[in-house]
């Protein structure tokens, strides 16, 4: 029988999102009359882990750690109607506007800084 090691435990923790099923991308179907809507999401994740050890003349030691995160973003709704099935994309206008405002502010600051450098030589 294999002895459990911290490295093995960390690797198992790191592989949890990979073993989570693809069904997690779909929400519960919502029925309204003769139509059904199924929410669809995109799931992204990142997991990192590491460990190490060292020895010198007097002692030896080691350690490790892991961290990660996941995020889910609604991308579409499957609309099942009597006349057919269609997929309606979801645009997050709040995030789009926030990103646009951030882009305009950042690029204005960058261009202003560059112009100042050009004028001052």
């Amino acid at each position: 029988m294999n002895t459990p090691t911290p490295e093995g435990a960390l690797e198992r923790v790191g592989s949890i999102p990979e073993h989570a099923g693809a069904a997690a991308c779909f929400g519960e179907p919502v029925r309204a009359g003769d139509r059904t809507a199924i929410p669809v999401a995109e799931i992204s994740y990142g997991i990192g882990f590491g460990w190490g050890g060292g020895t010198d003349n007097q002692s030896s030691g080691g350690g490790g750690g892991a961290g990660g995160g996941a995020r889910s973003r609604a991308v579409a709704v499957i609309d099942v109607a009597p006349d057919g099935v269609r997929v309606v994309p979801i645009e997050d206008y709040t995030q789009i506007r926030l990103a646009s405002i951030a882009f305009i502010s950042t690029s204005t600051a960058l261009v202003a800084r560059s112009l100042l450098k050009l004028v001052r030589g």
């Binding site: 990979e18 992204s44 590491g50 190490g52 579409a76 499957i78 099942v80």
Partner: protein
Amino acid sequence: MTQDTPAAPLPPRGAGALLHTEVERVPLGTHGGRRLTARVEHRTLRIALGRRWHASLSLGRRRPVAVEVAPGDDALDPYSTAPGGGRQYDEVAVPTPPAPWPRYARRVAAVALGCWLLVTAAGRIRARGRSGGRTGEAS
């Protein structure tokens, strides 16, 4: 004279990366007389490196790419390995709107690069002009 004890050999150094894509099929049930099956693309990038220490990073994304729509009243062909159980099916693509923040990061990077190139080019042109002027005075 002291004799140095030979150092213990270091374990081999290594690094690797693996990009893996697989497609999974998820049954979504029968709705309105139609059997729906989703195709989900699962992309994973694994990076690992180490010597006496080890670090590993795993990035992944699951993205639904299409929905297969087949008549729900047909019996599935138990011997078929084809999508839709061997029956004819329609396919509806799942469009994924681009995430706004990665697009923002790319655009800001492009503007920053453009500004840096402009300032660098202007600085070089000025420096060349100054050195040219000095040469002209000397001759």
